[in-house]
């Protein structure tokens, strides 16, 4: 849906002008979801109302609901994925209800946003893109990682520091950093199904200046991952990793940090994955030109 109808201007316009759009993950709002009881109860009540009205129900589906809660239409995922059929259903509902158009009820905003972090924590954004055409290549997948003080301490050297000092990030922390380095796969749940066979990150101080140290990172990741949850179609994933880190060894603070795949394959496909720190304080508010407004001008090297 995200790469299909929900990316079409006509659908976006209708939703913003006539509807209160909301998406709900089964993992959160489903009967056994992790969300608040009130949210699960609201979802259950909607499903019950649609069952009672014989309009159809399902886990992956579009429900159109009147302002007073009355079921209006239910669109199965097969029809919902077809933009003309979805648009027809939306327009029919608007016409039946006589809904006047207007500005979006909720201002649009980024849906994948950084988690809250304390002053001593570091937020990392991960993005992984399949380097192929077709399904699962329409957009990269994202994750957020929060490094706590323990993680940060585990990434920095324990003793004296000089140019050439080298150490290995402890295994638990490097696993935390690398575990999301896989391209989009079907993820109906967030359960970890990686079978990591080898993962390591080596850090080497390259220069020291003004109380700051600059280090190069290099590493390897080898694991197996099934494309679909619950299946046994495990495919090998191999990646070489490069990165850099600026840090203050005295105050044991990471000022900047980025890791990326140098070469990476999952099965027979190439992919690129990277993470970088979002360190908000003291950032210069500059913004270089964004030349990818259509979304297809990025040409990652395979």
């Amino acid at each position: 849906m995200r790469a299909g109808p929900l990316s079409k201007i006509e659908v976006i316009s209708i939703l913003n002008r006539y509807f209160v759009p909301v998406f709900a993950s089964n993992e959160v709002s489903g009967p056994n979801g992790s969300g608040p009881a009130e949210e699960r109860a609201a979802r259950t009540a909607i499903t019950a109302a649609f069952e009672k009205s014989h309009l159809g129900t399902g886990d992956v589906r579009v429900y159109l609901i009147a302002p007073d809660g009355r079921p209006v239409a239910s669109v199965d995922i097969g029809r919902a994925m077809d933009t003309p059929q979805l648009v027809a259903a939306l327009k029919k509902a608007v016409q039946e209800l006589g809904t006047p158009g207007g500005p979006p009820v909720v201002p649009p905003k980024p849906q994948s946003s950084a988690p809250g972090a304390g002053p001593a924590e570091v937020v990392l954004h991960v993005a992984a893109r399949r380097l192929a055409s077709g399904s699962w290549s329409e957009f990269p997948a994202e994750n957020w990682i929060l490094l706590n003080q323990h993680d940060i301490a585990a990434m920095l050297p324990p003793g004296e520091l000089a140019v050439g000092t080298s150490w290995t990030v402890d295994a638990a922390t490097s696993r935390k950093l690398l575990t999301d380095f896989y391209p989009p796969t079907e993820d109906t749940t967030s359960a970890d199904r990686n079978r990591i066979e080898q993962q390591s990150l080596q850090v080497t101080v390259v220069s020291m200046s003004g109380g700051m140290a600059f280090a190069r990172l290099s590493g390897k990741l080898r694991m197996e991952r099934s494309f679909y949850p619950g299946r046994t179609d495990y495919k090998p994933l191999e990646a070489t990793i490069i990165g850099f880190m600026d840090f203050d060894p005295t105050h044991r603070r990471i000022e900047s940090f980025a890791l990326a795949t140098e070469k990476a394959t999952y099965g027979s496909d190439g992919f690129v994955a990277a993470l970088h720190a979002l360190t908000g304080a003291g950032m210069t508010e500059k913004k270089p030109k964004d030349n990818d407004s259509e979304g297809h001008s990025k040409k990652p090297s395979k």
Binding site: L90, H125, P184
Partner: protein, 85 residues
């Protein structure tokens, strides 16, 4: 989110330049940041963000009543916002 990301990239590059890094170090920073840029979703790939989504079902129900608007509820597996779905 991009507006949050870009300052970091700029600042990292500026930090590198400001510390008189060797060409090898500057090349490493530029190369890694290029890979970061290549992996990140573009604006066009974030069209989901152009829709004014309610944060949850209960909020959507309240807003629907207040604004006399129907609800568009999409139920799905995984996390559509991050693309891990």
């Amino acid at each position: 989110m991009r507006s949050i990301l870009i300052p970091f990239l700029v600042t990292s590059a500026a930090f590198a330049a400001g510390n008189n890094e060797s060409p090898v170090e500057s090349k490493l920073v530029a190369h890694v940041l290029q890979r970061v840029h290549e992996s990140e979703p573009s604006r066009g790939e974030r069209s989901l963000d152009a829709i004014g989504w309610a944060p949850n079902i209960r909020e959507a129900q309240m807003l629907a009543r207040q604004n006399d608007r129907p609800i568009f509820l999409f139920t799905h597996d995984g996390n559509i916002a991050t693309g891990r779905c």
